[in-house]
């Protein structure tokens, strides 16, 4: 009888060790899947903004998504806009999980104006922000000049 109980204890011990290892595998896989999901969603948001920047029809026009954003204090010649989202990518103002920062910069020359945008998507975790995606679209608007 004693040997039976001893064997059972050993079996349960072996089982608990292997379940611990297996559970770690599953948890790591879930964490990786979450990172991949965040990266894909961040890329989609950044692409939406990039295509809206490419779609503006004049250098002074603002992309639609930025019209509801908060404008940060101007730094140099560029204007910085901020959009904040919760974990489900819905606009929020409290405890955002993701932040999108867009910096618009216009460079004028004799021939026209070049509008450049720096789009960064950040994930806020444990009080620090890590960058997920950054895109840099630009669009050139030729000036009109009579031949």
């Amino acid at each position: 009888m004693n040997s039976f109980f001893l064997e059972m204890i050993l079996v349960i011990l072996f089982f608990s060790v292997s379940v611990t290892v297996t559970a770690q595998l599953f948890v790591s896989a879930a964490a990786r899947a979450g990172q991949s999901r965040d990266l894909s969603a961040a890329l989609l948001q950044a692409q939406n903004l990039a295509e809206q920047v490419r779609g503006i029809s004049s250098p002074d026009e603002l992309p639609v998504m930025l019209s509801v954003s908060s404008l940060q204090p101007e730094t140099g010649s560029s204007r910085v806009y901020r959009l904040e989202y919760d974990k489900n990518w819905r606009r929020t103002e409290k405890n955002p999980k993701f932040t999108v920062e867009v910096s618009l910069n216009k460079t004028g020359s004799g021939s026209g104006t070049l509008v450049e945008a720096d789009i960064e998507v950040l994930r806020n975790q444990s009080g620090s922000a890590s960058r997920l995606v950054s895109l840099h679209p630009a669009k050139y608007f030729p000036g009109t000049s009579q031949p």
């Binding site: 292997s18 679209p137 050139y140």
Partner: protein, 183 residues
Amino acid sequence: MIFVVLCLTAFGILSYITAGSDYRLSEKTAQNEQDYYDMLRQSEKKLQTIDAAVLQARSDAQRASASGSCDGLTDGGDYRSVPAVETALKSSEPPADKCRTCCAAFLQTRLVKQGVTFPNPSVGTLPVNAEFSVAGDGNRSMRVSLVIDPFSEKERCRVTGREVIVSGQDQESESALGLWSGN
């Protein structure tokens, strides 16, 4: 019990490998998109310099056709090396035609220095088809095709196509899609 443990371990390993592969794919996709927009930004900056060269060529052509020579122009030496320019300036064509012929020649002279190529070179005719490439990260580059008409009131440099080229890939296998030019 052993069978159950083996199954759980196998499924755990499979899940981990799948999640890792999915994450690497997402990273690759994000990197590709970043490269694409970086190349797009470089092409727009190049377009700005090309547009400035087009305006300069137009202005030089107007001065040359009015004065009948390339004297006094910044790149007069380069312009004179094109035989069609001297021929046009000395001909009895109307000034507007002289201006267009000179402008086409000046344009090609200026833009060749910036790395722009002309797939169908025909000196003296406008509009002109041109192409330029911008390099991206790794082995990718973007080829931009455009139509240049310095005397157009709408668009001096109209982009007609952008193509991402991966060096080593067979470029003849797919034809580029034309951009929708509106109504």
